[in-house]
Symmetry: none
Subunit: 146 residues, 2 copies
């Protein structure tokens, strides 16, 4: 805003100078008053229009419309670190949410079923869940999994 005011001031000064020049020419060369007034009017009208445009250029109205978007899933890393969940545990959590049994997860993750159990137990513990269904529900609430 101040930049605009300053700019306007400078412009006013310049135009006064121009005015003087025009006045001088008017005095020397015998031009009519109408031409002088017309010139001034034209110049200031242009400046005014330009200023008006300048002032309103940034006033675009951003209307945010709620559209059912696919909503790309973004994991809440803050929650992940807050709960102290390791990458492997998150992986096992996703497998659990996919409806796989410990044995199936073991096959998919290339580890033993006992290892999966260990990870699963830690996940349940960290999520404060007593059952894997509850863990899944919580994980989705906390945006840990899709």
């Amino acid at each position: 805003m101040w930049r605009h005011i300053l700019l306007y001031g400078v412009l006013a000064g310049v135009l006064v100078a121009v005015l003087r020049g025009i006045e001088y020419r008017w005095l020397v060369i015998d031009h009519s008053l109408e031409i002088y007034g017309g010139l001034v009017a034209a110049v200031f009208a242009s400046v005014g229009i330009w200023l008006g445009l300048k002032l309103t250029r940034k006033r675009i109205e951003i209307r945010e419309v709620l559209v059912p978007a696919p909503a790309v899933f973004v994991r809440d890393e803050a929650q992940v670190s807050a709960l102290g969940l390791t990458p492997r545990e998150l992986e096992i959590l996703e497998f659990m949410a996919a409806g796989l049994s410990n044995k199936e997860i073991a096959e998919q993750a290339f580890v033993s079923e006992n290892t999966v159990k260990t990870h699963a137990s830690r996940v349940l513990d960290k999520l404060g869940a007593a059952r894997r269904t509850q863990a899944i529900q919580r994980a989705k609430e906390l945006r840990l999994i899709a």
Copy 2:
């Protein structure tokens, strides 16, 4: 647009008339040229600004932003009838998805745990799931539950 041009023309005419009046006054009362020019400048600058604002007033940019809307859940009744799921079974399915154990569901639904087991078994059977986690995953895919 044509209205603006017309308006501008009319205004120009009016202002020329005003100009004439000012000129007359200038001739009668001995005012300086600077005041005359300043007045004209001020008037036309104002008009210009007003015009600029007028021209850009309608130029609001409507930017539709895709925002993840809450997306109200609507159960796929077609799927429900296709799978032959009864209201009670859907109810138990929702409890399962909430992470409750059979015992807890029994308390919530005011029935015995055995009854919950029966319902749960039928739900698993109808959804072609081997585990309740899988049933929940399928149910969400098929839009049976939120």
